[in-house]
Symmetry: C2
């Protein structure tokens, strides 16, 4: 496995792969890898001739009060895991090279980015779309892999890829959970033992809603109220039932929907979601 630190090195590597007719699978991450990332890397390795992992904690997607400075950084362990899984190259650019002092270009996706996390975290998706565009231009992937835990992010990236005519297939992989249901997240390591226990309210609330939907409940307000009640142990940021493609709120479920939640457990903001496709959806 090779580690590449500049966009030029990365592009040269990818240009050689394209010239050999190879397919590149790409997993963009902020490092602090867990089993969710591992599932993305396994798919990228299996479905392509070369898998690239990027590790970059992107300052452009953190607000000043957020956790950029203390975001976990475990570079050596991340590289060892990637190597074990058969990743061909790790792209780990420096922040100063990614954003020089006179940096001034941004990619913005409207509509699909504006609710949910986009409402709670202004400029978050601008930072995500900008860095993902930069990473795509350096890695030149054929396929890019994202986790469903960041379902709105996948929807935003899909829209960006379609709108900007990027020649990249976006693949979303299922959420990977701990044995007790907690969705894997690099931020879980912020939790104290007591918070870790309370954090189970997120996945439990979604299970209640999943059961209700399976039993025929189609009314958004009813489902959201049930979820909010189950989230009583934590501080809710949002609970939303939206269309899986447009991320627009749904009042009565007739199409594939995303039920997404964000909540603070202590000072740690966690997100989780489920998707539901009604049997009669067309």
């Amino acid at each position: 496995m090779i580690i590449l630190n500049t966009a030029q090195e990365m592009r040269d590597w990818s240009t050689r792969a394209w010239a050999k007719g190879q397919q590149i699978g790409f997993v963009p991450t902020m490092g602090a890898l867990h089993e969710g990332h591992a599932s993305l890397m396994r798919a990228a390795v299996a479905e392509n001739n070369g898998a690239v992992l990027s590790i970059f904690v992107n300052p452009a997607q953190f607000a000043p009060h957020e956790d950029f400075g203390r975001y976990p950084r475990t570079f050596d362990a991340d590289c060892a895991l990637a190597d074990d899984l058969g990743v061909a190259a790790v792209y780990a650019p420096a922040a100063e090279a990614m954003y020089p002092p006179d940096y001034s270009s941004y990619v913005e996706v409207g509509g699909v980015s504006e609710g949910l996390c986009g409402a709670s975290r202004p400029h978050f998706y601008r930072g995500v779309c900008t860095v993902v565009t930069k990473l795509f231009n350096a890695v030149k992937p054929h396929r890019a892999y994202f986790g469903q835990k960041d379902a709105q992010q996948t929807a935003v990236i899909r829209r960006m890829v379609r709108d900007l005519d990027m020649d990249i297939e976006i693949i979303e992989m299922p959420i990977v959970r701990e044995a007790d249901g907690l969705a894997m997240s690099s931020r879980n390591r912020y939790l104290s033992p007591e918070e870790r226990e309370r954090a189970l309210a997120l996945s439990r609330s979604l299970q209640i809603a999943r059961t209700a939907m399976a039993d025929g409940e189609r009314d958004a307000d009813t489902l959201i109220t049930q979820v909010r009640e189950a989230l009583e142990p934590v501080r809710v940021d949002y609970v939303a039932l939206v269309d899986t493609v447009t991320m627009e709120p749904v009042t009565t479920i007739k199409q594939p929907v995303l039920l997404a939640i964000a909540a603070y457990v202590g000072n740690t903001r966690l997100i989780d979601n489920i998707k539901f496709i009604p049997p009669d959806a067309h």
Copy 2:
């Protein structure tokens, strides 16, 4: 020469070229081709294994009151010229495919885009950067050719390419002029014979400034006043002396500068410019 009408067709063509190790030279245009465009196509053909011309009148860079509807469209003549010059492929997408009703992604470049034409035409460079990104993603060029007449556009594109890590060399070719000095422009055909004569004020005013700079004049206000006096026959939009890279105003010439003007001749807005590098610039 092949004509491609969809992003997917264009990307497939380019992917085959990359797999053969070929270099692609790209000339993005709005059609209504003139000798300025021809100089770009000649360079793209000479310096690459395959040249692509795009013809797309981009609605995203016109304001509602501007000339999108009556912008000259001469598709068959444009294709004949491209074919004569050895262009391998013409990419001519449909506006409805480029901007479907739920289109919502834009590329914005701050700073360098904000003065000159960016001040006169809000959203102009957002439209330019967005469409050029889309065209770059479809054509996947190694080199892209732009004319110096749109010098701020080249500076904005260069910044975008650098910031977003696009693997594309941006090449700016000199302004091509009519025998009497008028800079070639697709919009020159809007001019009546009387306006065509008055339009010469633009190139003449720049020649006066060029002579003054060659004679040692370094003061921006003095030069701008001389240019404005020579532009008396037309209605000035702006006269600006700026750094060639940042497009920021210069008060005393110490570095390479762009002297750029925009003016209305009747209802037609024309632009022109010269660059000047002081002999002692480092």
